[in-house]
Symmetry: C2
Subunit: 129 residues, 2 copies
DNA sequence: ATACTACATGGAGTGAGCTCCAAGTCAAGG
DNA sequence: CCTTGACTTGGAGCTCACTCCATGTAGTAT
């Protein structure tokens, strides 16, 4: 699979994909004899995971560290597991912040919908909004 | 309340707080006669909201736009409501990505915990991990 | 053989969101 | 009155994660 095809599948630019490889977020991709990237199933798996985890806000550095450990072999099982657990904590903490913000948002939206109907806004409870 | 006190409460730096004010994420804060910031309840409310929404990933620009509309007065109720609804969609979409990533993470962590116990890893299902 | 297109590489440039710094001001203590 | 320390401002600098660019090459069409 060429880089262009992969880009179409995952809605990402070739530059980003090459960048991910360069900084080690995905391992080195297979090449044709002429040196052109030719993504196989395994490469695609790495790409999919990288995009998924980046979308969730995990850092380039964390993902690259995981790949580095992966390449070192089986004696890094625990290290990789620890890293993933850390990542999980990070994501859970971030999601909690989303929930707090969403709750605030819902409250405000309800207020505004009422305000649009009645023509007046009443911030009786929360200051400065 | 001085800028330092506000910073201690919200675990943020004075530079960030002044930056937020400069770019309009919060409206201009009250000052003492000497020009020193003196945060009142309303100012604190804006600060709390700004931090909450920034933590959830809403952009500086979106928050500043809200403040801009707020300052324009009551005829922007609808615009503000629309903006908030857009923000809600953004947050819901982002949270969905978190959930997908968390699910993947849980799966991997389970695999690794098994691997650490048994000494071998079996990626029978997913390629490239 | 020549032209064209899609890829390759290394390195520079960009935008968002802070973060730091120089120079100046003000209020309190000695 | 002078020093000290916490504040002020405008502007430069930094980090992260891309994104763009110049230059070169590989493969295909004419």
């Amino acid at each position: 699979m060429t880089i262009k095809e992969v880009c179409e599948v995952y809605k990402i630019t070739p530059d980003t994909l090459r960048y991910y490889e360069r900084v080690g977020v995905i391992p080195r991709v297979h090449r044709t004899a002429g040196g052109i990237r030719d993504y196989d199933e395994t490469d695609l798996g790495w790409v999919a995971n990288a995009i998924c985890f980046r979308d969730a806000g995990l850092s380039i550095e964390l993902l690259a560290e995981y790949v580095r450990l992966f390449r070192e072999g089986d004696e890094t099982f625990e290290a990789r597991c620890d890293l993933l657990r850390g990542a999980r904590e990070e994501l859970l903490a971030a999601r909690k912040k989303y929930d707090v913000a969403l709750e605030k948002l819902e409250y405000k939206i309800a207020k505004y919908e009422e305000a649009v109907r009645t023509g007046t806004l009443s911030w009786d409870d929360e200051p400065g909004n």
